[in-house]
Subunit: 339 residues, 2 copies
DNA sequence: TAACAATGCTTTATCGTTTAAGCAAAAGGG
DNA sequence: CCCTTTTGCTTAAACGATAAAGCATTGTTA
């Protein structure tokens, strides 16, 4: 059973395809179509269950009404949630989403950009990987609309949606201080990506502000590609020395989860022996025996903002850059002890 | 900067677009292109950084090299993982994936099918919602290739990829029995979907086989749409009566996580007071103080199989149906106590 | 050397839709 | 009653790529 095209309707109605097109795209007024004929065509289209061919439309219009989404890993709930909000928001605007996971890998990222552009996406929403600056500059020179989310590069003037990382980290660490902790360690990713740097800066600023020790040994970094082993080394370094940390600040949920898994095996009790706080939520952190205090990112708002900024840019074909920063919320639970 | 088309290359080389097309799709032999000319065209294409227009190709060929993926909710890691394996596998075959979340809602599912078909996807991979049988029959009558994953409808002869739900449930419950548990409860979704029914059947068969009590009161069902409240009611019913259950079998990870959150608040200790076992893995279940024994689904294999079956059907345009059932693995951890 | 094949390219139609331009016929105006 | 406007439709080109068919040359063979 072949798909029904404008031609089929035109034949059935004994008119030209142009007429049918005008009617079905509601251009009756501009194209001066007779009322009766419009009705007749609509009725035939309904009967034949006509569905417009999106591909043909895209070819003609040069727009695909498709957004390309590049995240680090769609199976990670943080990105899954971002993807979900973007999907919903795109749908409201009659856009669909093609996605790909870069695995924090520059080459995969480049490849994905290629694939998505060849699919003629109208724009991209990207959580950029470390070292992907060139790819973004390339996109700019090709005038491809795109929006960065979660991370960005200060030296690249591109749309981005972020959160107040530094301030949030500052507040999180301050919360630990108020809870009476003295030696506060941090576990971050080994990356130059901006969001992580900002969180580290917030951590350091808080320590300084409260006149707490801030030796380099209290700040540990793990590689994305060797998460488990690096985390274990980091935690050993933080908790097994002469002056073990009495609180830990994790830069992301994946770090916290992996870290807590290991801490569990050490027989260390949260929050008695160690206070814990992290960026991002996760079910695992809810179910933990001492539900973990965390910095809640406004994922819904971020996704909405990303789609809105992108579609605006696609529509207006402007080069004006939107940098949107949304506030986070500190959700206090048991993992930091009293307070 | 406009995109480079075949025409641009043709103009630059002083030849027809047809010639360029033949060369760039490697049809030199069949089309008897001169070696030098082929070289020249390729060189020009490289210099101009030509990227084929996928949309135009799709229009001509009638194939979009795009798969539509409909899951219940992409932000749920189970589906996120499925999406990830499908994405990877599709990519290997030069396919891309458009996705949508149905939220276990029939209308959303119908809407998504519409949207994806209008986008001319070559086929669909679907985790069908309850009551979506008509939609699937409709797809069949339109000869749209599709593959069901995770769930299926016995009365509909369609490709599906599943696991040995009944047997896995049987073994899981038997494991509880071997661990000395006598009153084994189950928490499932309130749905007629096949995968849940099979897990319940496996549970019941195991109780019967081991001559354990199997009153209806030991089997509780929660609505997807009212998960939290229904779970709390269910668990109250199972644990607060005269004969409280000494073990619980959860039909999915979301049920287990929500259930354990509530159990945590009751001061019940796992596994001393209560043994727990569940279908599906989750980080939350790893990090739990008594890591939860679970039935591990072969998500990677399922995703691969789904893509393979779908692409085969798209290629061969056959109506032969593939029903693939893959075995699960029981991963034993602390939540069931001593063996 | 005539007949035919092989070679190297162009022409043209097509996919389904959109839209500017064109063209009758009917309606309106002076 | 002639000229202009309006109305209601059709024609045709275009988006970018593909591929069958066509058409000159050149090369081969009896």
């Amino acid at each position: 059973m072949k798909k029904v095209s404008l031609k089929d309707i035109a034949t059935a109605a004994g008119v030209s395809t142009a007429l049918v097109s005008y009617v079905l795209t509601n251009k009756e007024k501009e194209a001066r179509i007779g009322e009766e004929m419009a009705k007749k065509i609509r009725e035939i289209a309904r009967q034949l269950n006509y569905q417009p061919n999106h591909i043909a439309r895209s070819l003609k219009s040069g727009r695909s009404f498709t957004i390309g989404l590049i995240v680090a890993d769609i199976s990670n709930p943080f990105f899954g949630n971002i993807a979900r909000t973007i999907e919903d928001e795109a749908k409201k605007n009659n856009y669909t989403v093609i996605f790909g996971s870069s695995d924090e890998n520059v080459d995969k990222s480049q490849d994905l950009i290629h694939v998505l552009l060849n699919r003629q996406v109208d724009g991209l929403i990207i959580t950029p990987t470390e070292g992907s600056e060139q790819q973004l500059l390339q996109l700019q020179s090709q005038h491809v609309p795109f929006v960065l989310i979660d991370r960005y590069f200060p030296e690249i003037a591109a749309n981005h949606i972020t959160v107040n990382n530094q301030e949030a980290a500052f507040q999180a660490v301050s919360h630990l201080v108020k809870a009476g902790r003295k030696r506060i360690g941090m576990v971050a990713y080994k990356t130059t990506l901006q969001h992580i740097s900002e969180r580290i800066q917030g951590y350091q600023a808080a320590l300084q502000q409260h006149e707490l020790p801030a030796p380099a040994s209290l700040l540990k970094r793990a590689r994305y590609s060797h998460l488990k082993t690096d985390i274990e080394t980091a935690i050993d370094g933080l908790l097994k020395g002469k002056h073990p940390a009495d609180a830990l600040f994790f830069a992301t949920n994946s770090l916290a989860i992996e870290g807590l898994k290991y801490i569990n095996t050490l027989g260390i009790h949260i929050p008695n022996d160690l206070a814990v706080i992290t960026f991002d939520e996760a079910e695992a952190l809810d179910l933990f025996y001492a539900p973990v205090t965390f910095v809640k990112q406004p994922i819904l708002d971020m996704g909405k903002a990303a789609v809105r900024v992108l579609l605006d840019q696609i529509k207006d074909n402007t080069t004006a850059v939107s940098n949107i920063c949304i506030d986070t919320t500190l959700i206090v639970r048991k993992s930091c002890g009293s307070q």
